[in-house]
Symmetry: D3
Subunit: 240 residues, 6 copies
């Protein structure tokens, strides 16, 4: 789903930049002689990678920020410098967001609230009609001005900047998303169906990490913290 | 303007394929394990090239059709086989349109009505929820089911296929379009201002070819034919 | 050797498609205006990757199937969408094989019989003169109609489809293969020579995994299963 | 046809390098750690370009020679240095042919005998088992040791080097060739059918240049020279 | 020679940016997490193209300015957006030069003085330690602060910016330059030697355009204007 | 720092090849019709990768040598054959160094002396005016003729070959290097500052591996060996 969301975020962002959506009236890819739009992607994980590749494919000038240098190196190797990378810090975020035509928030922490990397003040310093698409919106968003919207009414203005805050983006392309979800979950589903959930989780730590609640008790630390509940981790050994 | 229109056509087309627009719910770029959308571009001129590059950049699988083999060779050389080319004939058009997720009409003849390459029957054989964006709409369109729409209400359904028929597409990105138009016309404007229109047209056949009406008489053959008016060509020599 | 075999498989397949070999008479790369051949590669491991890259380099339109999503993502990142990926299932295999000009079988399990992913029925539905090259042939093949052939008489027809079944493909390019084999095995050979086989296997699990038979007993589970022999795994600790 | 021939020449050449064909046993693309084969393409026209691209796509290290600097610059721009270019002179030809694994002769002059750029002596200095594919064979060949062969028996040895001399290469892939030929000739055929040959040739110098014999007289200078016949050029004006 | 000069200009510019040369201490290509240097190339002709490609190859972020839109489109098609293009005007030049790490002057007019596109004031607004390499230096330079220097003492500071002003750049790589010059001039030399200069110039307008002085009279308009001499054009017909 | 050094090494090497530096007068990238320089990179680690990419970006023909086949495969996948790979052995090193225009030494072992892969004899067989840049110079160099030099006097001749031996290369671009160093070390610095060095090293083996001397005793095996001191490894457990 992160792959679908990352790619859709750019399509949505390109639309936000159109005049009819309240945007600056900038074509992301520019044309020969007219500079392309500047796209800033916060976070180089799966969402960020897919957003960056799509924005670059549309012809935008893309910069990805992350604190993980290994990840930035991977971008450099894989895209041969076509996608720029920038070490993320409050200073670099503030200075590059100010010049962005399109800002993609792609910072997600598994099960936890996304950190607020871009403050309302930073958004207010963006150019009027610039656009923000925060993929982390259903985890609170990494842009302070982001709030959830729906496919029916996806866009709103805040601080003069067009925001797209649809929480369930992949719902826009259900055909692609259904296949993607099926492909990603089928192996787990087969194992759960074959062995039962407890045996399957004992055998596969990846499955076990997906447990949120077991027999009424929260077992995932991030979920527990987010809800303010105590956490009683599920143990493969104890369950055996 | 053709460059802006060609690139925007793909952004509009991607939007048409979304479920909320009535489309098939297909993400043009697909994701790993799920095939990308098939994009068919009719015409390999400026509009077609820009549409093809943008669609390919989004991750779509693109085929360009044209009757000009030299142009198809140029595509092959320049895009290293990434964009497929197909010699255009009634047979190839019919068979590939049937399988397209997104059809871009990019056949424009200077000053003349666009030929109808895709009939209503062919559109009816496309998959439900497929999309058509006909950039030639203000010259009558090269797809039979195309009719002009506006930025306010851009999309309609015909034969189960989502159509986008905005006539003045570049108006969606006025900032980029204004610069593009300025860059393209400035040299001519300077020459017209320096020499007066008649001297400028005498000196530069490219300018002269742009004359439509001179002192009340239609001077451009294609315009004359389209309007059913007699044509009295303007001659640089006679004007001297 | 897998690298050599994967690359040669495409050269052999291109040849099978020639009329003189009984094939459809299709040039894998097409030419501008004429579509390229469709190449389907079953399995995205070393053989599959090398086959896919070579087929794409020749200008073919390539799809790789695998059940490992991480692997498909690697293809997408590395080849920037030039090589399509498809999640492998009986349904997707059947439907894409039917449209293939060239099918490359590249599914190998270490020491075990290859699974039969493509049935005789599926082959029968391929177009007359299409081609099959099954690199897994010496492990039984992953295409039901595959049988081993020799460099002297490499090609046969089955169900109207040209099959290439040479078991020892790399033998065709001994100069390249010898260097490749030397490079891959030299580090192991040095360690075996320096320490003796038992000490070397104790020190390096990768070497130990290569043991098939030790003092008359089959020690590799997959080999044992294939031969119907009992398996007595060799243990580094017991050997110490 | 030149496009088909250029691409096929590389497939044929790769085959010639295999041990079973008498070749050096070199895989054109090499594998990681083992160098690729060196491919030398004489002539950067349509045949040469298609051969060079295909050889490079297979992973070979390709150098194209031509005396037309503009053409070499086009290669450099289009392939971004991936295909090397070398100004052709007797000295550069001799020195690079000596190191080639595969030599592609792609020097064709319209209607005239190809010049002999590579002498028997140069071929004799090539490595044993290297390969020569001379696409100009039906115009006499640009390699002295080339002679015409057939699809049934395509290969022979000369000076220790494997030669492929099939005159009608595109016949190997009739399906692709037929479409290619159709696409290239259809526009001319339509004009000939509509207007009759004389009117069509008067109207289109490109068609007229294709005339070889008119009412029993040779009208094409190169054909006349090759046959030792007098030439009586056809004139559009005289014919009118 | 323009090709050599354009490529060398970037190597020289990268050196100027080093601290030991007085530069900003910026690595043109950056590293992952640290932005690359910004390179501005004035002029998209042969020198500019070669400079742009080399700077982009080193990892710099490159923008090419020109007034010829067709040329900018060629850049866009050929480099797939990797090299940005900007329509040149006094306004765009001033605003982009200000942000450049490296400015390459590549505006040359055949035989005439280069226009001064970058004023001393613009240079003064560049960042301290930025660099200027003006390939047009021996035609007066297109940057006001440029003056000729030598390979022995190539660099000087002006307005806090490092300038490289070697007039005969290709002299730094005589081996490459000699071959390049030989390749470019050989065809002309052969024709001059075969036919004598007058007959050769009569037969080939390209050669004739190279005439500067004939029997004591200046025949090239631009040279005449630059020297303030009268111009008596050489006519092929009169000479016959 | 390795990234900066690897990229700078090529810029320095390109300069060494210029005539004014005593080099062969070869432009690394060549020009159309004149072959590029041959660059040999010993070692495919971080330094080697960055050197190889930069040299290839400049247009050089690059070969990387390493004994790690996985690494060579990574190069092949990532650069699509543009950068050649060669399995490193005394034989392959000797034969390829002989033909190199520019040799980059990029073999570094953490904390240990670099192995001497290229002997004085091999250097003597290089072409007069070829260049050597040994990034491993401050660990003794992997080329026998290398000795440390300074930014003030960076170049010397040995065996007719231009050597660049600056030990602290990144010092040439302090602006880029400072950011790079900051980005790479900040996470460690934060952890050291928050927890104190002992707790931080106990918690993070990567940090602990960086310890050279603890309370007067050498704790790093390679450092101990290089200095001929006894080694008393620091243990996270003992320190607790």
């Amino acid at each position: 789903m992160s792959e679908v969301a990352g790619r859709l975020a750019v399509q949505a962002g390109a639309r936000c930049l159109e005049k009819t959506a309240g945007g600056r009236g900038v074509l992301l890819g520019g044309v020969p002689g007219v500079p392309p739009g500047k796209v800033v992607v916060l976070g180089g994980g799966t969402v960020g990678k897919n957003a960056a590749v799509t924005a670059s494919g549309l012809g935008g000038r893309v910069t990805v920020l992350d604190v993980d240098l290994q990840r930035l190196r991977w971008f450099d190797d894989t895209f041969h410098g076509r996608i720029e990378t920038l070490f993320s810090s409050p200073h670099t975020v503030a200075s590059i967001v100010e010049r962005a035509d399109l800002l993609i928030g792609a910072v997600l922490l598994a099960g936890a609230r996304a950190p607020t990397l871009v403050t309302r003040e930073m958004v207010a310093r963006m150019r009027p009609g610039a656009a923000v698409v925060d993929v982390a919106v259903d985890q609170g968003g990494c842009v302070e001005t982001t709030r959830p919207t729906t496919h029916a009414d996806p866009i709103y203005l805040a601080e003069g900047v067009v925001h797209y805050g649809v929480a369930n983006m992949p719902g826009a392309v259900p055909r692609t998303s259904t296949f993607a979800l099926h492909n990603a979950t089928l192996p787990y589903a087969l194992r759960l169906a074959d062995a039962g959930w407890e045996a399957a989780c004992r055998a596969d730590p990846a499955l076990a990490r997906g447990l949120n609640v077991v027999r009424g008790a929260v077992v995932h630390p991030a979920v527990a913290e987010a809800l303010g509940e105590p956490c009683s981790p599920w143990s493969a050994r104890a369950a055996a």
